[in-house]
């Protein structure tokens, strides 16, 4: 690493990027090898050593305490005290430090805002400020853009450029090729724990992707134009609350037809999760109706909805999708275990379960030593294939796929996408929810953009990315609507950011 360089670390999930950086940050101990900082070997025994050596890290999952203020989070772990033995926390000094760093690097955050009230993009900025107040020379950003809107990502890249101009070095971990090309000075590709190549950002996307997976991959999805049929899923006037009794879905009308993929784009947390859970009978409806093939299903249990021909790939596979301690075979029948041929009466039929599992494993290319292995031992991509295999192994009318490729390697993404299109071509209606804009654009025949619990626009897949990106940020081309959204967006105005609510109104 050179001073003032942005070095991208590119690799599939499970390639060892995060592990490498955790070693650098002192969270894991290396078995062999050494780390050189300014020519001197460093053996960090914990994050404190790493920080002392001038290394800071922003984790993929933020390490912030949600109920504390920005200033309190920033001083956490390096609390300034005054009053000697009495040890009063010096909040004023922490606030001053935050303000100082904010202005120096043009990273605007309000030191008194409570973390949980802030949007994700700002929370990430707090993480960066936190690292910078420790006076680091090298900043590690572990998949920083995974949770950001295109606009927020753009802002982050600007921040990174400014840090670079100030002489800080940045290690930027990602598996998004576009960002690498936009910002990196040098690219190192890691595969299965080894460096497989170093490239300049001038290399083409396909070259980088091939380096990542070790073979050529198709990044676009080949598909014929859709031939939509009868409406399969009809939502009207849907209103749903989230776990905190806050309105999450606020009057959604939506129709998905047989043989088409309707993509719901939107930044996470705009009601997509609750919408899907309500359709699946996992969350109570406060108003509105859900119809499947003309019949109301909103009063049915989840089991009845699944049995009516709905396949569901939940967005968080480790929480909602799989029982990690159970075997692959058992997870493949998690919704069918009590139906022939897998169960009869009270008894399970282990032979039938095993036989079916072997077929599915072959058909869906699940890489595993055995069908009896616990599903938790598989890699993310293979776990996701198990879920997809389970949901696609029944005759379906409707497939709901929420974030079907999140945290999945490029090879598996390709496979899962082709399966979804295959299912569409067989006449199934597909509802795809994804915060990956590329995925929605690549797969969907129609794109509905969700913002603050509403569908604020339905556009075709050939709409410009920028336009969809603006919709995702709540800005509709219609000026009247924009004003209305600007007013609601004002609620998170506690965080003054260069393109906060204010700039939305300008647009």
């Amino acid at each position: 690493m050179e001073p003032g360089e942005i070095h991208a670390l590119l690799g599939e999930n499970g390639a060892g990027k995060s592990t490498l950086m955790n070693v650098l940050y002192g969270l894991y101990q290396p078995d062999e090898g050494e780390i050189l900082v300014d020519g001197k070997p460093l053996q960090p025994r914990g994050p404190a050593d790493a920080i002392a050596a001038g290394i800071g890290m922003v984790h993929q999952h933020f390490m912030l305490v949600p109920v504390l203020t920005v200033a309190e989070n920033v001083m956490l772990g390096a609390e300034q005290v005054r009053g000697g033995m009495l040890g009063f926390l010096d909040r004023r000094r922490a606030r001053r430090e935050v303000a100082e760093v904010s202005t120096r690097y043009n990273l605007q955050v309000d030191p008194d805002a409570i973390i949980e009230d802030l949007p994700v993009g700002i929370q990430q900025r707090v993480e960066i400020v936190k690292a910078l107040t420790r006076d680091v020379d090298l900043l590690i950003l572990d998949e920083p853009t995974a949770v950001l809107t295109p606009q927020e990502t753009e802002e982050l890249l600007t921040v990174m450029r400014e840090l670079k101009a100030a002489g800080r070095s940045i290690v930027f971990i990602t598996h998004k090729l576009g960002e690498v090309k936009a910002i990196a000075d040098r690219v190192t590709v890691i595969r299965r724990g080894r460096t497989v190549g170093t490239a300049t950002p001038e290399a083409s996307r396909d070259e980088l992707a091939a380096l990542m997976v070790g073979r050529t991959v198709r990044l676009t999805v080949d598909k014929e134009p859709a031939t939509p049929g009868e409406p399969v899923l009809e939502l009207s006037g849907l209103v749903v609350d989230d776990d905190r009794q806050v309105r999450a879905v606020d009057g959604v009308d939506l129709t998905v037809r047989a043989g088409e993929v309707l993509g719901i784009a939107g930044v996470q947390g705009n009601g997509q999760t609750e919408l899907v859970e309500a359709v699946m009978g996992l969350r109570p409806l406060l108003a509105g109706s859900v119809r499947l093939g003309g019949e109301r299903i909103d009063d049915r249990s989840t089991k009845e909805i699944l049995r009516a021909g709905v396949g569901y790939v939940p967005e968080d596979r480790s929480v909602d999708g799989l029982v990690k301690e159970l075997s692959i075979a058992e997870n493949l029948v998690l919704d069918l275990y009590d139906r022939p041929p897998f169960g009869r009466g009270l008894a399970l039929r282990p032979d039938a379960i095993k036989k079916s599992a072997r077929e599915r494993i072959a058909q869906f290319d699940v890489r595993t030593p055995s069908a009896e292995a616990a599903v938790g031992t598989l890699s993310g991509g293979n776990q996701q294939k198990v879920i997809v295999a389970r949901e696609l192994s029944r005759p379906l009318k409707l497939l709901i796929a929420a974030q079907p490729t999140r945290g999945v390697d490029v090879g598996s993404i390709e496979f899962i996408h082709s399966r979804v299109i295959h299912e569409r071509d067989a006449g199934t209606a597909v509802l795809l929810v994804s915060s990956e804009l590329d995925e929605v654009i690549g797969l969907a025949d129609r794109i509905a953009v969700m913002y603050r619990g509403r569908i604020i626009g339905i556009v075709g897949p050939d709409t410009a990315r920028e336009e969809i990106g603006l919709l995702m940020a709540g800005i509709t081309p219609d000026p009247a609507d924009a004003g209305a959204n600007g007013a609601t967006a004002g609620t998170d105005g506690g965080a003054p950011s260069p393109s906060g609510p204010g700039s939305e109104d300008e647009a």
Binding site: Y312, V319, P350
Partner: protein
Amino acid sequence: MTNAESGSPDKEPATTDQAARMTLDNTERAEPASQQPPERPALGRLFVANLWAANTFTVTLLSLVLAMIVGGILMIVSDPDVLATYSYITARPADALNASWALVSEAYANLFKGAVFDPDAVGLTAALSPISETLTYTAPLVFTGLSVALAFRGGLFNIGAQGQATMGVIAAGLAGFLLPLPAGLHLLVAVFAGAVGGAVWGFIPGILKARTGAHEVINTIMLNYVAVYFLVWLITQNGVQDPNRTNAISRPVDASAQLPRLFGDDLRAHAGIILAVLATWAVAWLLNRSTLGFELRAVGSNPAASRTAGISVTRTYVLIMVFAGALAGLGGSQMVLGTTAAALTPLVVAQIGFDGILVALLGRVKPWGVLLAALLFGALQAGGNRMQSYSGVSLELVTVLQALIVIFIAAPALVKAIFQLRAARAARPQTSLAKGW
């Protein structure tokens, strides 16, 4: 998967047990064997390697050894005569060592003679007596152990086996002396009543957990108190209390409702142990081979994913607690229908519910493991009686031994560190024991 592990341990531990003892002695001998042609030593070496890897069986066995060592030290420290020899240990070390060895070896020999076999016994009855005692203590522990283990596999921590057993003993006892039924039928009704009594007491925390999210640990503990004091109150009521007695004891259970003895009238072993083996088999089948068990295991590991896949989590929680309660109730019913007591007293269930928690943990919350663990606890109990009367080592030491075994098992890292075991893949079940909270 768990199927593969717990599907056949009924025979597995028996053979491994013998084999383990052999190989433990032969560890040094196995080394030279590995230099011979590759095929046979490969097998033997694999076995030794596996044994010294920190698998659950090895850790359990070594925990037992460690507990006995600590127990031996406690015996020495608590015996004034032996302790006195240590005051001049530098002058005559042999005295101290001999006295210690004599005390500890005799105590453990008596423990063994009381629990398994006494070589000096004359006649069949005397020879069978230790086994009979062990089985008598084992039977109820199997039920309460299964109760805790079943709930645990379903993600619930059932501290209420004691209360459920108490309700079981009440229901079984009442059915045993209040209902005038013919022999045979009377026994069936009494046993069934015990199961129902426990099931009701399990249903309450189950439905509270499912409907309101109330934590089952709190509720089962509280219901333990309710059950115990209900028993104390009930015993002195008219029609329940023995009319010929003034102290708190109920009428005796009719002979027609008592579990038949297995080895004749002089030995206490009764049919409860047969029921216990059947129950173990039934729970193993339920867990691994039934749709309900599938739901239970899925909900126990990940309720969110189970719900998403259409499994009714609330229904499963209620069923788990009903089954767990019924098992504990069956265990309780043996305390009055069996040979340990024939009438209800305030202490009639002893500690079987709480011991059941230890048995379940020791048995790694697997049905056949629970059976073996209960057998060990039963043996310690039976042997402890003899150890107390013959060696003068107090019965409480047995409780200390039981506690030490469980502590060592709950801290596998400690055992591994002491014996320098290699880390093995099988280390997961132990960590999962902490999950209930």
